[in-house]
């Protein structure tokens, strides 16, 4: 045991009571539950985890997306200039007109799968 650890082991607190320092050995591992248990913060564990994840994610985006990325703009003038008109047949238009009177009952059906608010 080093002299530094011995000093800590033997150092009294303000009341003069010696606080035993965890001993070395197979059970001496730096686990969160051994050394960093703060009961008053247990309820905030998930929030702290989310905050850390958000910070790391933002740092990642700054690092990765700060580089200029090749873009492919669907609204680029080159695309527009090369486009040709689509043909629309009278038959297709008639077909739409034929069924345009169909009543929509979609509002009568919903799903409980997280898509509908």
């Amino acid at each position: 045991m080093t002299s530094a650890i011995q000093k800590v082991r033997d150092s009294p607190n303000s009341t003069g009571t010696v606080i035993p320092f965890p001993s070395q050995g197979p059970a001496h591992d730096l686990t969160e539950s051994s050394y960093f248990v703060f009961p008053q913060l247990e309820g905030l564990r998930e929030e702290i985890k989310r905050t850390i994840e958000a910070v790391v994610t933002e740092a990642f985006y700054r690092a990765e997306l700060g580089r200029s990325l090749p873009t492919d703009d669907p609204f680029d003038p080159v695309y527009i200039s090369l486009l040709r008109p689509d043909s629309v047949s009278a038959e297709d238009l008639d077909r739409l007109s034929q069924f345009a009177h169909v009543v929509d009952r979609s509002s009568l059906l919903s799903f409980d799968d997280g898509w509908d608010d």
Partner: protein, 183 residues
């Protein structure tokens, strides 16, 4: 409803194709989007995230086939998709039979239909025990760089007549006479 395995074309993406195992990004909550800036809180945002669990599932290709044909490269700028939903999650199960009956407007004799939804029959290729519906109201598009990824996920191909019925229903979902819904 679906072409047999011998006729399934794994090299082409067609309107009406069903893909499985892709991220569904339709119906995003605009107000919930996080914008990221190079310097925290300053300058123009260069990225954005949506703080919700990713939805990975099935979708149908809605793009017209000629628009997503690789030999027609100029037109291919994006692929339009719509998510597929499990009918077992329907809040009014009794309506599903009506939906099935009126599904193909050009083949049914009803003057009403559930225009927002196109019913897909039960198939072992999809994990929906009573079939599913394509929801046109949740459609989204992905850039053409995702074409190969989408094609790789293709699991079903509609028969030509069924594809025509679906496309007609999609068109009527966006264009129809103003009518009062029947309760």
């Amino acid at each position: 409803m679906y072409v047999p395995e011998a006729a399934f074309d794994a090299q082409r993406l067609l309107q009406g194709d069903v893909v499985f195992g892709i991220q569904l990004v339709g119906a995003i909550n605009l107000r919930g989007i996080h914008h990221h800036t190079p310097v925290h809180g300053e300058g123009r945002a260069n990225a954005w995230t949506v703080p919700q669990e990713p939805k990975i599932g099935a979708a149908m290709v809605l793009s017209h086939s000629c628009e997503i044909a690789l030999e027609n490269n100029v037109k291919l700028t994006s692929v339009v998709l719509a998510p597929i939903r499990d009918v077992n999650q329907a809040t009014s199960p009794e309506r599903i039979s009506e939906l099935v009956t009126s599904n193909r407007i050009d083949k049914s004799d009803t003057d009403w239909s559930y225009l927002k939804y196109f019913y897909l029959e039960l198939t072992p290729r999809l994990p929906f025990s009573r079939g599913a519906v394509v929801d046109f109201s949740k459609l989204f598009s992905v850039r053409k760089q995702a074409f190969a990824h989408v094609l790789e996920k293709k699991v079903l191909q509609l028969e030509d007549e069924v594809r025509t019925s679906m496309a007609l229903k999609l068109a009527l979902y966006f264009h129809r006479e103003e009518t009062v819904d029947v309760a």
